[in-house]
Symmetry: C2
């Protein structure tokens, strides 16, 4: 078993109705690794600058995540993002994006990272994603994320990358944009015809839906009274989802396995948003994860008692 992720490692400045953080560890690869490390040993690929501090290295290595392939760029500064959430967290405004060491990032994978069993391509430029995917030729499950930016400026490259993976995990509105379809249902089914065997539509506070050739599964989000910081929720979801697959190396990756993976992804994402940045998932315990999975099951299960309907 081994799980490799390539993606951003960042410092974030975030303002939400719950408060403000001027500089905290973030980035897609970070949030993914923190969630996935409950399931498997994770190897992180991504660049950081000389400002990347000891506490951040320590957080990144939570639950044994391996950072040997994290590239420390001499003279560089770590990717920085500053954003603000408005309107009950329904909209997000970016104030600052400093790519820094990410601007000229070319993923370099060690032999151990290339030999991964499962690979996650977090949201980076689609050609870079594809080059990493090709280096990990033996991976038995490859999943990827993306974003509206790449749909707008690199759609063909993105589609080419999607053709080479097993699973696309994307926001529902981005699925519609990408497939040019009026619903995430028709969009996901269109994208299945491009090559992936699974498509996950992320729906934010509403939950997530899974499409495979064998069926459909949807799971509502865990009901939280207060979301403190939504940043990284999608990457935590992916970490739980892909991590669960990685934890089952003997099992066929079929619809039923991905269904259960969805539940762990949902549980991890729900914890992520309970505090700023990585604060909650760093401190999370295995018992809390399985406890929330049990709760999700209770909250979504119903008995179907037959009833005579009037005709």
């Amino acid at each position: 078993m081994s799980l490799t992720v390539v993606g951003s490692i960042a410092y974030d400045a975030v303002s939400t109705p719950s408060g403000v953080r001027e500089r905290m560890l973030g980035g897609a690869a970070t949030h993914f690794a923190l969630a996935a490390s409950f399931f498997d040993e994770v190897r992180v690929i991504g660049p950081v600058g000389e400002d990347f501090d000891g506490a951040s290295w320590e957080t990144l290595r939570t639950r044994g995540t391996i950072t040997d392939d994290v590239e420390l760029v001499a003279g560089g500064r770590t990717f920085f993002w500053k954003g603000e959430y408005h309107d009950n967290l329904n909209s997000r405004e970016t104030h600052v994006t400093e790519l820094n060491v990410f601007e000229h990032f070319e993923p370099k994978l060690s032999e151990l990272s290339r030999a991964c069993d499962v690979l996650f391509l977090a949201n980076i430029q689609p050609d870079l994603q594809r080059s990493v995917r090709e280096q990990c030729a033996d991976a038995r499950f490859v999943a990827m994320d993306s974003m509206d930016l790449w749909i707008n400026i690199a759609r063909d490259a993105l589609i080419e990358t999607i053709r080479g993976v097993d699973c696309l995990i994307l926001n529902d509105e981005e699925l519609e944009m990408l497939a040019e379809k009026p619903s995430f249902v028709s969009a996901a089914r269109e994208i299945l015809s491009w090559g992936p065997s699974a498509v996950v539509a992320k729906q934010g506070k509403y939950g997530a839906a899974l499409f495979t050739a064998d069926g459909y599964f949807a799971l509502p989000a865990y009901p939280l009274e207060d979301v403190v910081d939504p940043t990284g929720a999608g990457d935590s979801f992916a970490g739980g989802f892909v991590g669960y697959v990685a934890a089952h190396p003997e099992r066929e990756i079929d619809h039923d396995l991905l269904v259960r993976a969805m539940v762990y992804g949902t549980a991890l994402a729900s914890y992520n948003v309970e505090a700023f940045g990585t604060e909650r998932v760093v401190a999370l315990t295995p018992g809390e994860v399985t406890g929330r999975v049990d709760e999700l099951q209770r909250m979504t299960t119903f008995a179907h008692e037959p009833i005579a309907l009037r005709g």
Copy 2:
């Protein structure tokens, strides 16, 4: 068993990406009755004008719905609404609202309508809703809908009406507006403290969530590739939901019963949006309803297999 609904009976002109209808039967009470009539005998209270034609009467009476208390206003015209859906049905624009006979509507209930076991107050002015609720003193379950308009211009009257019912069914964003809370979860829990024993948050294409003192249940919407016309989906949901309760006069109205009611509401709403106006639900069969309930169960059920997580 008897189920009374008070609400609008209308002619709608609707434009969606799927097509246009210049004049078709609509209105909250109409859509509610068509769905609820699968479960119980429905009595409709609402006004129509002299333009209300024979085919509309016939549709309203589908599956035995009783229209004795539908008030035919001499010299009046039926409520008319013209609207257009944009942007993959995510936004709706009203072009024309002619209240007509609805402007001076005062609900008049016959003895049989007042003696109902279950009552649904569709979206009308909150003081009118309360007067009907008070006339149906023996109803063992009273549910209601409302809309942003009344939250804005009659909030105190609306809250007073909510205090007197068992269940509020409202769009999730309207729940947040009404309770002045940042999430539908905190909003629903606040509203439970006002008096109702159940709150349902409608989430459009994402599904619906149920809050009671005894728990939480959420159900994703049925996955449709193409939604033809969303008009009346919420009322069809309410018809299935409240109808299911009405069909169980011997049963305690507890969390489990309302959970199953949610599934029937979801099934009915999903059929409603497959065609314009009432076209699909008029032609629906009991077998199609239970078939979709079975499908919803398959699409939301998962086995929770224990897994050893890394600590």
